[in-house]
Subunit: 329 residues, 2 copies
DNA sequence: TTGTAAGCGTTATCAC
DNA sequence: GTGATAACGCTTACAA
């Protein structure tokens, strides 16, 4: 292993000169700079990050806790995080919740033990940060997919706005009796998407009676199908359905097909999340794409702000969803 | 920051005693052990991993290079790797190819600079390790999803065996005129699946003429559809089709539906990879599930073998695929 | 069974 | 502009 001393020897200067040449923290004559560059090149010197971290000034590693990497959302978020980390020349230490039985506190602790410079917590489903977790977090943490809470900077998708956009599209397509198929009412994303949808309809003066036109499934295709049955029973004159995710939209489309309902002529369907399969479903599904990579990248930027002593501005960022129109509408 | 010295002070012993108590590398009296435990507990001491890494004996971090984390295969492989890493109390430094313009050499270098104890390379699509890469790799590397090459331990899925299983299933279901829709012929996975399929058919004495019964798409749903058209044209009496991946199977099923062909009655369809959507496709798709998590876990085990100075046994592991039967057959 | 002390490779504080 | 040198927190001979 080749060290800074070797470089100093080869260049005929002292270690401190080499160190300073590397960091640029003091003025070095062009001549010595060149000698040092040559020596480094020749020897193939690479500074030892462990020694650097030991001496002080951060380790150049950030920790990422993702609830379930297997969930495709996590992957896209990580991709965004990594992009920014690369720009900052930082490394990404990865941990997933599944390995800690979803015990976030323990996972965070694991990362802290490694002396990471900061931590990004990517929640699998939108939720507030638990009290005990909140208490244990210090300044170098950013949360993704949570609600804006004091102290911890956060990035979240604009589910409310997404719902509104969906409403706008259906209205533009001529719908006057739209339905909504949601996930469990307790799920923030589903609730927000519904709220935005209702708001969008109201603004255009479209009547919307949640007690009749809304049903709640469990985000699975099967529940999308059964909810559609239920709703069509209650509202035979329905002409569109907004589903809180693509799985339920897929199920609803299947069901409609089985019932002989023509899509999009008789029923327009719009999903959410823009899952991969939406693009090539037998009837390709119009959907709302989440700004996942952007969420990851933004959270990383915020984290580096904090690491470098700046306050992220704003502290809580809400990123818009993007409408992807396909055959189902 | 609380150090080993603080613990030593508090416990009234020397630092080396504390160090040895922690590592268990020499016998310490129960009494002092207890004192040390108490001090650690009380002070909340956590050993500094950077100092440890600096002094010697590994950093406790392994690097994982995945071509594209956004590809769902990568996520499952990572999950397997992480499980084993946790058992070994090691950390995972993550890097994806997309951040290095798929320049594997550069990505590997990035990880090496961080002084990781070892590296797992997870290829996105099955391929041999490039010559230049091979040359740059040292002993502490394991490759996933490649072919068995000397020097570098590897883990790969048994695409050949998977093809045979697919043939066996179709035969069991009474097929006598099966078709094959492959990806680009140059793709190892597709070629192996076809070879296994042909082998399985031959063993049961089913006639199979590749020049007529095989078509090559590009792994997309659209190509699955067009290949089916082509093949049905050539073989109107076909009663089954094995597709080299689920995307093409999905496209083929769509197309068959449009042509009024009843699945599975008139045409049995089997895909490969067991993608998420296969389970809830309008006609759920029979598929071959890849042993992804197992591949990840095994590669990690092999890597730790090497790190700890043992030779992995065997050097090249081929893991079987699992048949998942659904409505399409 | 325990303690002393010499590094590991850097950076930063002095001094020149 | 440049050099010594003392830390950083830990492990591990070597002594006792």
């Amino acid at each position: 292993m080749i060290t800074i001393r070797d470089v100093a020897m080869a260049a005929g200067v002292s270690v401190s000169t080499v160190s300073h040449a590397l960091s640029g923290k003091r003025t070095i004559s062009e001549a010595t700079k060149a000698k040092i560059r040559n020596a480094i090149e020749e020897l193939g010197y690479e500074p030892n990050p462990n020694a650097r971290a030991l001496r002080g000034s951060g380790s150049g590693v950030i920790g990422l806790y993702a609830y379930d990497i297997t969930e495709s959302f996590a992957a896209s978020i990580i991709k965004g995080v990594e992009r920014v980390a690369r720009e900052k020349n930082a490394y990404l230490l990865f941990t997933s919740g599944t390995e800690f039985d979803e015990n976030l506190l323990e996972g965070i602790d694991f990362l802290k033990r490694r002396r990471v410079d900061g931590i990004i917590i990517a929640y699998g489903i939108r939720q507030p940060i638990a009290e005990d977790v909140l208490a244990s977090l210090d300044a170098r943490v950013v949360a993704v997919n949570t609600s804006g809470q004091p102290r911890v900077p956060s990035v979240q998708p604009d589910d409310l706005g997404g719902g509104e956009i969906a409403a706008g599209l259906l209205i533009a397509k001529g719908s006057t009796h739209p339905l909504f198929i949601g996930g469990p009412p307790s799920r923030v994303a589903s609730a927000d998407r519904l709220a935005g949808f209702a708001k969008g309809l109201q603004r255009s003066g479209i009547a919307f009676y949640p007690e009749r036109q809304v049903a709640h499934g469990d985000f699975t295709p099967a529940s999308g199908a059964s909810c559609l049955d239920l709703l069509l029973d209650r509202c035979p004159d329905a002409d569109a359905v907004f589903c809180a995710n693509d799985y339920m939209a897929a199920g609803a489309i299947n069901r409609a097909g089985a019932l002989g309902i023509s899509i999009p002529r008789d029923l327009k369907v719009i999903g959410y999340d823009d899952r991969e399969f939406a693009a090539f479903w037998p009837i390709p599904i119009t959907s709302m794409a989440l700004p996942l990579e952007e969420m990851g990248a933004t959270s990383a930027t915020m984290l580096f702000d904090r690491i470098e002593g700046r306050e992220p501005e704003p502290m809580h960022l809400v990123l818009g969803a993007r409408l992807v129109e396909r055959a189902s509408t």
